[in-house]
């Protein structure tokens, strides 16, 4: 119940994986909310796996707008996270996420291929962490199809098809988290969104709160 209450108050852990350690065999249920700048809600699952002696955290998440819990828009992402370097409590992790982001308005339907590469470096002691994060997000291509309304009332020659990327963003954030109970951890991040391509964001602020529940 406590986890659920925190999840309702909080932001995407699933997408950001605001978790402490997911060792091989561990499983986490991740819930969260974020500002991207649209407020979103995420639900995810992460599992620690060992691959040729290296620990990886593999995860999957579903994200959608929190406002009206609008199912016409959603993002599904699969990711893998690995530790690149570790010395005493200090750690540098890399994470790569691939997925799709879809949208459906009364004007267009669209599906983007998404890539998200993250470096997280910081201090990861026994029961928490504090780290700096740099994330690059790029949607390399988007399938877009105009709605019948758009074709009828706006632009009859509008073309459905794969459109080249017009947007890429970079986020720099501070993130941290604590293990609250044996099974429960919470995390938060705050930072800025900068534009690599695509014009300035409506609100260049990246915020997130997340809850991880050890299964």
């Amino acid at each position: 119940m406590l986890a659920l209450a925190l999840a309702l108050l909080a932001t995407p852990a699933a997408a950001m994986e605001l978790t402490h350690d997911v060792e091989a065999g561990d499983q986490r249920l991740l819930m969260g909310m974020a500002s991207e700048p649209l407020f979103t809600a995420s639900l995810g699952y992460a599992r620690g796996v060992a691959v040729r002696g290296h620990d990886l955290t593999v995860a999957g998440s579903v994200t959608l707008p929190l406002h009206l819990m609008d199912g016409r828009h959603q993002r599904v992402e699969l990711s893998a996270r690995a530790t690149l370097a570790e010395w005493r409590g200090l750690r540098l992790d890399a994470r790569l996420g691939l997925g799709e982001q879809s949208t459906r308005s009364h004007l267009f339907s669209g599906v983007s291929l998404t890539t998200r590469a993250t470096l997280v470096g910081g201090w990861f002691p026994e029961r928490g962490f504090i780290a700096l994060e740099a994330t690059t997000q790029w949607n390399p291509a988007t399938w877009m199809a105009p709605s019948s309304f758009y074709l009828d009332a706006v632009h009859p020659e509008a073309q459905a098809g794969w459109y080249a990327s017009t947007a890429a963003y970079q986020t720099f954030a501070l993130q941290g988290g604590v293990v609250v109970r044996e099974r429960l951890e919470i995390g938060a991040r705050v930072g800025v969104d900068t534009t690599l391509r695509g014009g300035s964001r409506t609100a260049p602020v990246a915020m997130g709160l997340g809850v991880g529940w050890r299964l």
Binding site: L38, L68, R72, S112, N139, H155, Y163, A167, G198, G199
Partner: protein
């Protein structure tokens, strides 16, 4: 490496969102087949219908930034003793785009006066303005009273900034789903070209004000919502962040008649607003068409044409 090499040809085969006509319609400078009117420093999408010897009637569309597609049926007045000019205002619809900062609210009356001078046999015209087109018609009467004989104002926007604030047109409906459409698609489509900005603007504006009671079954067509010209016009008419335009002062000295047409279902432009708007003019007629909202000239074409013929 293999993945990258596989992806590259696929990505290079993608459509270009900024290419004319792919997602947002091409403008007159991009499509030579479109009818055009050249002014000194811009090219407008537009056409003149009817006998050049007949008195001129100009259709003035809404926006700012929209186009005359939804008012095109009114060009049927060309067979009724009028020469009818329908055009997309500077930077709007299929007219040539301009860079930010090059247009103000007062550029549009200058353009309209220049068009009247060019096409009218006697240098005057009657104006039929819808929504923002009603405001632009008032601004043209204010700046060029000798050029305008009559105005038909269909659901005109507020003639003063103060009235705009009272109307609450800038209030965002937080329960509307199009806010999600706008912000979610920001990660898929950028905002650094005219085409992308127009695309986003269309998403934002097309379902913004349910109080206007616009039909969803038979939507009033819009070819392109010009974001840059909208921003230019609005910012030029603001002072200290507040709307400060005044297209009303001086209208009381104009000798013509303003004919108002209202949609009975529009809950934003209520009776008090209508009375205020009409009070600015010395001579008025007023008609409320029941059962329709802000898109009445599209839904009730025959009634609108009959009404215009009756009052002019």
């Amino acid at each position: 490496m293999r993945v990258t090499l596989t992806l590259l040809p696929l990505l290079s085969a993608c459509l270009d969102l900024e290419a004319p006509g792919t997602l947002v319609p091409a403008t007159v400078d991009e499509d030579p087949s479109l009818p055009r009117i050249e002014l000194d420093d811009t090219v407008l999408h537009g056409e003149v219908f009817g006998d050049p010897a007949d008195p001129l009637l100009v259709i003035v569309h809404g926006g700012p930034g929209m186009d005359y597609a939804g008012l095109e049926p009114l060009t049927a007045l060309a067979g009724e003793g009028w020469q009818v000019l329908a055009y997309d205002q500077r930077g709007s619809g299929l007219s040539q785009r301009h860079e930010p900062g090059s247009t103000t609210a007062w550029t549009h009356p200058d353009d309209l006066a220049a068009l009247i001078e060019r096409f009218s046999p006697d240098g005057t015209a009657a104006l039929v303005g819808h929504s923002w087109g009603g405001q632009l018609s008032a601004a043209t009467v204010q700046a060029y009273p000798e050029r305008v004989t009559d105005v038909v104002l269909i659901e005109p926007g507020p003639f003063t900034g103060e009235r705009w604030e009272t109307l609450g047109l800038t209030r965002i409906d937080m329960s509307a789903t199009h806010l999600n459409d706008l912000f979610w698609s920001e990660q898929m489509v950028g905002r650094d070209s005219h085409e992308q900005l127009d695309w986003h603007f269309q998403q934002l504006m097309s379902d913004q004000m349910p109080g206007y009671h616009m039909s969803k079954d038979d939507p009033m067509p819009i070819r392109r919502m010009g974001f840059v010209v909208y921003e230019d016009v609005m910012s030029s008419a603001m002072e200290d962040g507040r709307p400060a335009w005044d297209f009303a002062t001086g209208l009381d000295a104009w000798p013509g008649t303003a004919h108002f047409v209202w949609g009975g279902e529009n809950t934003i432009m209520d009776e008090a607003y209508r009375a205020e708007q009409e009070a600015d003019w010395p001579s008025t007629t007023s008609t409320v068409l029941e059962g329709v909202g802000h898109d009445l000239p599209w839904l009730l074409v025959d009634d609108t044409i009959a009404l215009i013929q009756e009052v002019l």
